[in-house]
Symmetry: D3
Subunit: 285 residues, 6 copies
Amino acid sequence: MMKISPQTQASVLVESLPYIQKFHNEIVVVKYGGSAMSNRALKEGVLRDIALMKYVGINPVIVHGGGPEITEMMQRYGKKATFIDGLRVTDEKTMELTEMVLSGKIASEIVALLGRNGVKSIGISGKDGQTILAKAKSPDLGLVGTVETIQSDLLMLLIREGYVPVISPIGVDEQGARYNINADEVAGALAAALGAKKLVLMTDVSGVLRDASDPNTRISEIKIDEVDHYIKQGIVTGGMIPKVGCCVSAIEKGVQRCHIIDGKKSHAILLEIFTDDGVGTLIQK
Amino acid sequence: MMKISPQTQASVLVESLPYIQKFHNEIVVVKYGGSAMSNRALKEGVLRDIALMKYVGINPVIVHGGGPEITEMMQRYGKKATFIDGLRVTDEKTMELTEMVLSGKIASEIVALLGRNGVKSIGISGKDGQTILAKAKSPDLGLVGTVETIQSDLLMLLIREGYVPVISPIGVDEQGARYNINADEVAGALAAALGAKKLVLMTDVSGVLRDASDPNTRISEIKIDEVDHYIKQGIVTGGMIPKVGCCVSAIEKGVQRCHIIDGKKSHAILLEIFTDDGVGTLIQK
Amino acid sequence: MMKISPQTQASVLVESLPYIQKFHNEIVVVKYGGSAMSNRALKEGVLRDIALMKYVGINPVIVHGGGPEITEMMQRYGKKATFIDGLRVTDEKTMELTEMVLSGKIASEIVALLGRNGVKSIGISGKDGQTILAKAKSPDLGLVGTVETIQSDLLMLLIREGYVPVISPIGVDEQGARYNINADEVAGALAAALGAKKLVLMTDVSGVLRDASDPNTRISEIKIDEVDHYIKQGIVTGGMIPKVGCCVSAIEKGVQRCHIIDGKKSHAILLEIFTDDGVGTLIQK
Amino acid sequence: MMKISPQTQASVLVESLPYIQKFHNEIVVVKYGGSAMSNRALKEGVLRDIALMKYVGINPVIVHGGGPEITEMMQRYGKKATFIDGLRVTDEKTMELTEMVLSGKIASEIVALLGRNGVKSIGISGKDGQTILAKAKSPDLGLVGTVETIQSDLLMLLIREGYVPVISPIGVDEQGARYNINADEVAGALAAALGAKKLVLMTDVSGVLRDASDPNTRISEIKIDEVDHYIKQGIVTGGMIPKVGCCVSAIEKGVQRCHIIDGKKSHAILLEIFTDDGVGTLIQK
Amino acid sequence: MMKISPQTQASVLVESLPYIQKFHNEIVVVKYGGSAMSNRALKEGVLRDIALMKYVGINPVIVHGGGPEITEMMQRYGKKATFIDGLRVTDEKTMELTEMVLSGKIASEIVALLGRNGVKSIGISGKDGQTILAKAKSPDLGLVGTVETIQSDLLMLLIREGYVPVISPIGVDEQGARYNINADEVAGALAAALGAKKLVLMTDVSGVLRDASDPNTRISEIKIDEVDHYIKQGIVTGGMIPKVGCCVSAIEKGVQRCHIIDGKKSHAILLEIFTDDGVGTLIQK
Amino acid sequence: MMKISPQTQASVLVESLPYIQKFHNEIVVVKYGGSAMSNRALKEGVLRDIALMKYVGINPVIVHGGGPEITEMMQRYGKKATFIDGLRVTDEKTMELTEMVLSGKIASEIVALLGRNGVKSIGISGKDGQTILAKAKSPDLGLVGTVETIQSDLLMLLIREGYVPVISPIGVDEQGARYNINADEVAGALAAALGAKKLVLMTDVSGVLRDASDPNTRISEIKIDEVDHYIKQGIVTGGMIPKVGCCVSAIEKGVQRCHIIDGKKSHAILLEIFTDDGVGTLIQK
């Protein structure tokens, strides 16, 4: 970067104008997870990117994951993580540890980093203001939940007043019982409920790959009616199936574009928003 | 209670009217801690009392503590709690565990219980919206902090919109460093910054006692200019000294009345607000 | 009441919470009349009950009657009260006296008593802001009117700003002619127009009685489609017929529950709102 | 008027523009009393004038008197009116009758007439919203009161929302006791409290006269520091002394101009506002 | 005017009340043009009339023409004005001169005169806030445009804040190209888009005349379904055809009444608004 | 620019964050003039830069000049421009031509170009809303004016609603007389009145030069108390003296930084705002 002249810098800024206009005052929901969350440099990079989005007039909403840190803490408590179809079976103790990690550690750290970047933000669990009403997903999974309703008043209030909400994927039911929900699902449901223009799912792969072992086979765009076809062909598989599913569901509820991107790539979100060449897989109508 | 007739119930309600009027639209800061937080029945009682306050037009703000649970978790991580003058020496790992317990467990549980009582509430750490700006208290104490400034915008916004803020006593500085702060101190500073009418510190003793071993020696009222005298006489001692100090400081900044009450006593807060006979020690000008 | 301990008082308050929640921010229209208006102690009791309702977050709207005092004043002016089907035949002079009694005496006194109980209130005649547009009910009745339209702007403004409106049942037409309207009818029309949750008609009997001479035969609940049946059976008779009619009409326009209660019973309104055992006859869908 | 051509009408309108501009959005308090209140044609004229003021952007506030009608009603009740220094000695019964006449009859009639002229108005007694806080004037006078404080919130709310307040000169104290207050005094106190630009006192004489028996000796302007001189000279005498006193007091609290005019003169208020030649006596600094 | 007594003036004002009420808070769009714009005395008269309208609670919106001054300026630049069907063929240079005359001279002068009459006003071209979106009318006419859409936000904002908009009939397209539009057309389109109650087209004739050479043959009212008939009969001809067309179109979009009046007649607009006898031709449903 | 990778673009954006934060929600007044206004490419560049400022949260206010085009138009009308101390002697005809050029041509064109860049803007002369109250500067100069008062209501309203005001430097007095004012003076007065954070004067030189013939001798910063010294030394001379004077005056009224920059330099404003190395001369306290 050293060699970029001020003149060139100014030109780059001016060239970003059409993209800034396009997202002016729009909500963009970012599922933040994977390596971009565990690596300190990546983490600071992502949050600076989000601070920039905020300052140029976009309203980012962050939903974070936290799987590895939950597992680590469970070990500390002598508990073994069990997964069914990629979902962590959650008993009372696991739930308690999950909440502590998500709200008490991860969201909290994101809020502090955004604050350092001059952005007012606030950690929100789905319990706050009963924002995420949930129910159990399956008797076998214990306190694993699925979103029933998003009550968006609190989030809209905070967004309108200039705060970036940092959301831990925890739900609650009317009796006060809490649930551990998949962060992609929460991000998709929020994007739909908040009328977001864009949903970005940050992963550790560069998108949907024709050949999982070769990053150069990335599919840059999938129409939602092609999804079944890709699943049948075995191209969309495993953990990618629910991710793509969240995107399809969000699009059907009015979100315009969903992106599955590689959080390890520097400035991945900005590239998706401020350039014409996306970096991951775009899912749209 | 079985034998109270509906007629009598109605009379009791009407007799509470002058108290309801007195606190109408006023903010009351409650430091919630001690046994009232560890015992399930007491906990539900306190939060129902707070729900009632909210519904009769008072704006409660809760600041919670969490010492014992932090100690327990530290043990799980093989760390030994060290205290200097009653303050927990806090290294990075301790700070991380502290935050997880306070924001991720205790605040979260309070929010869920209030929700079940029909009250919209939200867990707020001092990092959210940089509400509590803090600095290190002393080099020997590590990340133990002391309040520098309360930035009350976020809290006032939430109160105005009908939410009960549940505050974890964690501070942050401009560089994003976090601090563990004494909950009494935070409650006092918030009461002053929010223009609260009353500050209630919930403890495990029935107030300031002339004879610590005899609950019947409770002093029902202390003027702030008598405090030094009581300290010299050895009546206000130990952990009670900083508590009384928080009260004095809050009163000097405009709070009218501070109460040190016994959280184990059922409906202690309501008794302090809705009857003439206080249950603890009142500190005032 | 002497023997109720503060503890018990607090318990009673907490037990009223579900009822307070149910009526939070709702409008309750109270037709205030009969003995509860002529007896000083009852009057003070009723208005203290209404003050309590206001302070716990309910929006009461009072419609008052005033028959006996009008008759008394007419006598003073040497006029004889004539009634057709329970409605006072109203000539110009009678109308003038009626207005003086209703607005200038009764409403005015209620406003003063509420003020003394710390409640901001305001006397409103249907002429103020042309709130009650009316027309003549029948050529034989002179200036006896019936409600045509409620213009609720002024009332909603005052309610929103925290005032309790005290309404004299006088209507006006576009030419400025004034009408004497039955207070039950006005209360019912207002309950419907203001979207009230509940309408309470205060009478001198304990509700609809199977045997008019035996208060123990009170019918505690009538569905609106049973009303005709009760009339045919001669159980709902005389002055009770229009009262029940106002309730039916209000319920058909969206009011949830109407109550005919005995104003002589102490705290009758509170018992209807804050306990499960109603004291009069409930009319609902 | 028949012979005024449309062209001339338009010219007259245009010539009134500077006066309309001068009073745009200003409050003008009118004490309405005397013959202009008892004669039907005059009454309709005055209220049409006030409707015009309202529609061209001025905010009129009416304070009405009612002496003769009170006396008449007292006779009906066999009570004899006694006056000390022009003030009606007021016992409980007199107070009750006074209120009925003022709020229940006179204000009510004014509101109806304004309504017929397309103006939203509302009768307000000093008890409504505890607008006029008062105390007893002298032990000898019974319930004759004097203004202590004007609580102007309710009036400002109503003015802002486009209502013309019609005020009965009745005060109240914190205990709910009511007082009969001189209407000129109330008008002066309101003009000061509401920041009125002008106070107009309507009387039955054409202003302050050098020779009380000769209307041609009207003094068109008095500076407030000349008042004592006029009193000493016996030119300002009797009932005119308190009227001039109200004006002086209002001017000292910021009202710019006070007028004592003859309400029997057709369009007297409009002439005072919309022409350069006043019709009564102007009192100013 | 000398001989009009103050009494008569007041009477005239009161008689205008019903008209003032009728237009209270309504928008009236005035196409201002012809001799009333070139003659200094007429100009001052018209703008004083409009100031009066504003002060009595009407919201006037002015659309001005400017043909003769454009022609004059073109001559200065050695350009010859060419008209096709009464529309000025407009090349780039003509457009530039047109804009300078309309926005830079005529609107600017109107704003100054209104300011002198105490009215806040603001010159608005259709380019400001892209208020008038337009397209070319015909390839032969160059930059002569026709209205596509009125974007009324800016105008409604200014009206709400008390400004009188003075609109130059210039349109713009999304690419920033500007168009010269007929002022009558703009006035009609604005009246429809702003929900005006009345549209007034100021011309140099006294309305639609049966015999163009005889002003006494004015038709005082035309229903919109009679228009075709009048055109076929050769009564509505030449430049009057598009004027009547604008009126018909405005009425079809909700404007109640359109008037074609003679701007040379003194107070013509006021006569149309404040008297029953209109001065021009009324077109309505 | 071709060779800048998307990655680098993203980095440049992120590096601009601190500058965007610094000017968030602040007003920046830009005097736009000189070659940057006459050259089409420069013009489009400047307005795109301003559009970018608007979209990243800054509130730009443009004041434009127009000297050369006024001179050109005067020639067309056979008038000779005469200058005294650099100020154009202005008679009535010159004033008329000046206004036409400034409001009708230059402002109008800027508004259209901003519209094409997605920015809502509006041309404002100092006559609109009587924004710039002015008086004659000197009898010798005719209608050359100087600012007396800025009435900022209209501008603040438009800024708050998201419009970029484009201001022609024309003033008006209470009698409606108009004045031609130096654009630098208007820009300085507006910056002070609007509480701008920064004032940028765009010229045709690269700032204050030690040696006027050598652009490399630019002085990058002048403290306001050094100004006299630079004038005495003959470094600040000629037309630069009033420019520097405007800056000094603006700074004394609270503007933090004023810049004299070369409008011919591409992206000059952005470089001044978004980089640490200014491009012109900074004047500050």
